[in-house]
């Protein structure tokens, strides 16, 4: 059972809060080190127009998060909150300075590393008077984050060697970034480059190579049309506040966050192989196009048609090994892609058929390299078709039906035990009535080259800010990802109950 209560008190410029959490025992898929209960987070803060100061647990992000992002996601079981002080100061309109200092939460304890950081952001249009009314908006920013961790001697023995080695570890590891955001009418351009000093750690096998990351996003939008192109290159940018945190989830004590550029699909089969960001090294591109076919036209139909096309490709870096532990590890050309990690393309067409009904049809193609999840094996190629139909019976009663099919060249292998392999069909019927209740029935069935049948039923009730949901069924082992950060979900069969409320 997982439970939590956030309590917030505000009085003028002062506020204080705490979060009580209980894991008795942690639900399946959550790390057993969460077991226990108590006040997990607490803080007190003061805020006025120019200054805000927080003491206690807090969350903060510099830019896109390439050098700092402390955040919390209860569905992934991640809480990287910092415990210490944070200050946010706005000396002039358009100028924001941030400073943080603290340790990161690690289940019911704190990590060994001490994190310190500064960030500055300047909105040029606010400080240059002649630019105030300009259609071109420019924001510049930069930050620096440093981690201190005692450089206890780490003695290692190399494979096939009979000697012991003692590494000279840096106690302070720094990461800096510069960023800009530019917009002009419907056009937008965002870029951030980050650099990290030597950070030998368990994840990079104690190599001393510097890390860097580049993230660029360009977009254009106007009424009925939008396009977005994103690119990123990440090299040795896993930045954690402990070198070897003994964390099997691989997600705790991250100081930074590398944004995901793959689409977060919502349909079950399209999201069956989610891509987890590889902070050790990856590069990729994503393109996204949305447009509307006008209503009362041949193609657009009576009500118009929305079309959404998305594609992404992610590869490893093209690396040449120059050594193992205690060396710079490898070299890689900046624009040299390595093996394919992930690729997808999806086309979604949504059309209103009448005043009461709407249909959405989606085709998707996903290529997935199991090495991303730590398994050897061939690339999986999946074709997916989804049909989603919604019928509004009246103001308070809505019926939704969903049918999905996935054809894959992957075959179930008992040694790997990946139960996602094979060809699948799925059906779902959901009925919302009186605007407050809903009931949903679904089944996923692997009919070829795989195993598994996963029926589920779920009933829910929503009233004001409270939501109660009871589900019963079978869940397939898999991976749940949010923003490129993933959690392993074990197979389960049984009853789930969830209640959320706020007042």
């Amino acid at each position: 059972m997982n439970a939590r209560a956030d309590i917030l008190y505000t009085n003028g410029p002062f506020s204080a809060g705490l979060r009580f959490e209980a894991y008795q025992k942690p639900m399946l898929g959550f790390d057993p080190r969460y077991e226990g209960q108590g006040i997990a987070n607490y803080f007190a803060s003061y805020q006025n127009d120019k200054l805000s100061v927080t003491a206690g647990n807090y969350y903060e992000q510099f830019g896109n998060g390439l050098i700092l992002r402390s955040y919390e996601d209860r569905f992934l079981g991640i809480d990287n909150s910092l415990f210490g002080f944070s200050v946010n100061y706005r000396p002039w309109d358009g100028v924001t300075l941030k400073g943080i200092i603290g340790k990161q939460r690690f289940y019911w304890e704190y990590g060994k590393g001490f994190v310190r950081g500064l960030d500055a952001e300047v909105a040029l249009n606010n400080i240059i008077k002649s630019w105030t009314e300009s259609k071109t908006r420019i924001t510049l920013g930069g930050g620096f984050v440093s981690k201190y961790e005692d450089n206890d001697v780490t003695i290692i023995s190399r494979q096939n060697e009979y000697a012991l080695y003692k590494l000279a570890l840096p106690a302070n590891v720094g990461a800096g970034s510069v960023r800009m955001e530019l917009s002009h009418g419907g056009w937008g351009l965002q870029a951030e480059y980050a650099y990290k000093s030597q950070d030998p750690n368990e994840q990079n096998h104690y190599i001393y190579k510097n890390g860097d990351a580049l993230f660029v996003s360009a977009s254009y939008s106007q009424k009925g049309f939008s396009a977005n192109l994103q690119a990123k290159r990440v090299d040795n940018m896993g930045f954690r506040s402990e070198r070897n945190p003994n964390d099997k989830t691989g997600q705790m004590l991250y100081i930074n966050y590398v944004p995901s550029i793959t689409k977060q699909h919502t349909y079950a089969f399209l999201s069956m192989y989610p891509y987890a960001t590889q902070t050790t090294g990856e590069m990729g591109l994503q393109g996204d196009l949305m447009f509307k076919l006008k209503k009362e036209t041949l193609l657009g139909g009576k009500y118009g048609t929305d079309i959404h096309i998305n594609t992404a490709v992610i590869t490893s870096l093209d690396t040449s090994t120059i050594g193992g532990m205690g060396t710079d590890g490898y070299t890689s050309p900046y624009f040299g892609p390595g093996d394919l990690y992930y690729g997808d393309v999806s086309v979604e067409i949504a059309r209103k058929l009448s005043g009461k009904s709407k249909i959405t049809a989606t085709y998707g193609y996903v290529v997935f390299n199991p090495i991303v999840e730590g398994h050897a094996g061939h690339l999986h190629h999946n074709n997916i078709i989804v049909c989603d139909y919604t019928y509004k019976i009246n103001k308070k009663n809505v019926l939704r039906m969903e049918a999905e099919w996935m054809g894959s060249d992957s075959k179930y292998d008992v040694l790997v035990d990946d139960k996602r392999c094979g060809d699948w069909v799925m059906g779902l019927v959901e009925y919302n009535f009186t605007s407050a209740f809903f009931i949903s029935l679904s089944d996923q069935y692997c009919y070829h080259d795989g195993i598994g049948n996963y029926p589920n039923v779920s009933i829910g009730y929503t009233r004001k800010a409270s939501r109660l949901q009871i589900g019963y069924g079978k869940q397939r082992e898999g991976i749940v990802c949010i923003g490129g950060v993933c959690r392993q979900v074990p197979a389960s069969n049984g009853l789930t109950f969830s209640l959320t409320t706020s007042f």
Binding site: R33, G36, K50, I101, L118, S146, S197
Partner: protein, 294 residues
Amino acid sequence: MIKGNIFICALASIVLAWGCDKIEANENGLYEEYAGSAITWSEGTSITTNAGKRVFLEKYTGPKCPNCPTADDSIHSAQRQFGNRLVVVAIHDYSSFGRPLGEIDLRTEKGDNWSSYFGVRNAGSYPSAIINRMHNDNTFDLFMPTTVLSDKIANALTSALSINMEVTSTLTANTTTIDVNIEFIQKVTDSLTLTIFVMEDSIIAPQTMPNGSRNQDYVHNHILRDVVTDIWGIPVYADGHEGSRRKAELKYTIKPEWNKEHCHIVAFVSNAATREVLNVAECKLSDNSEQFNE
């Protein structure tokens, strides 16, 4: 706003002054303080007085574990029966039972890695013990050491002796020179590893007792302090033929907060693949005579 400026300036000073360290590579492109000099292998000597089979018992415990003092009594009783044929280590891991009740934290990351690997953390049952890292079917043979241990230890002692071992420690200031002698009694074809660690006796720290009370002055013995080698050991540089002997020598610096008089060095040889322990030896840190009394 003066307060805000002062805070930002103070933070800027801290962050920029100690932002990052740069480690320079040596001529070989390595970022190491020393390489290859820490351990030397040479021809070993014959083991006579310290020969024989010993049993290695790992106990996973913690200050918040009320049944752990019962296990300590049970192990103490076994030590009286088997003398130094039984080598015990107590490991405090990062489970909720291992959290310290006061300022003295007896946990180690390396011990926690062992705990996770052998399935103690996952099982969540404390105290847990394992003898010679033996298997029971496909899992490690964990058990609760709160009852009589004689049978399990006696069984382990009767298994075939494949190697003799002895360890000595010569302490100079805070640095010890550790010598481990290994003599093959039978031919061993499996890959072997040698693991060496430091443990400390007689540490006074709080402990939850079986009746739920807290004993502030509980005496913790056999506490794992550090693993000198890699936690899974370093390869034993030997051909494994019957009668062959190898000797490993390495230096290790003791941490100042440990009581040298109460520290011991333990060395064991295990199967690199199965982790099963073939033999173990123990000696005091502060003198070079091995503790081995029949």
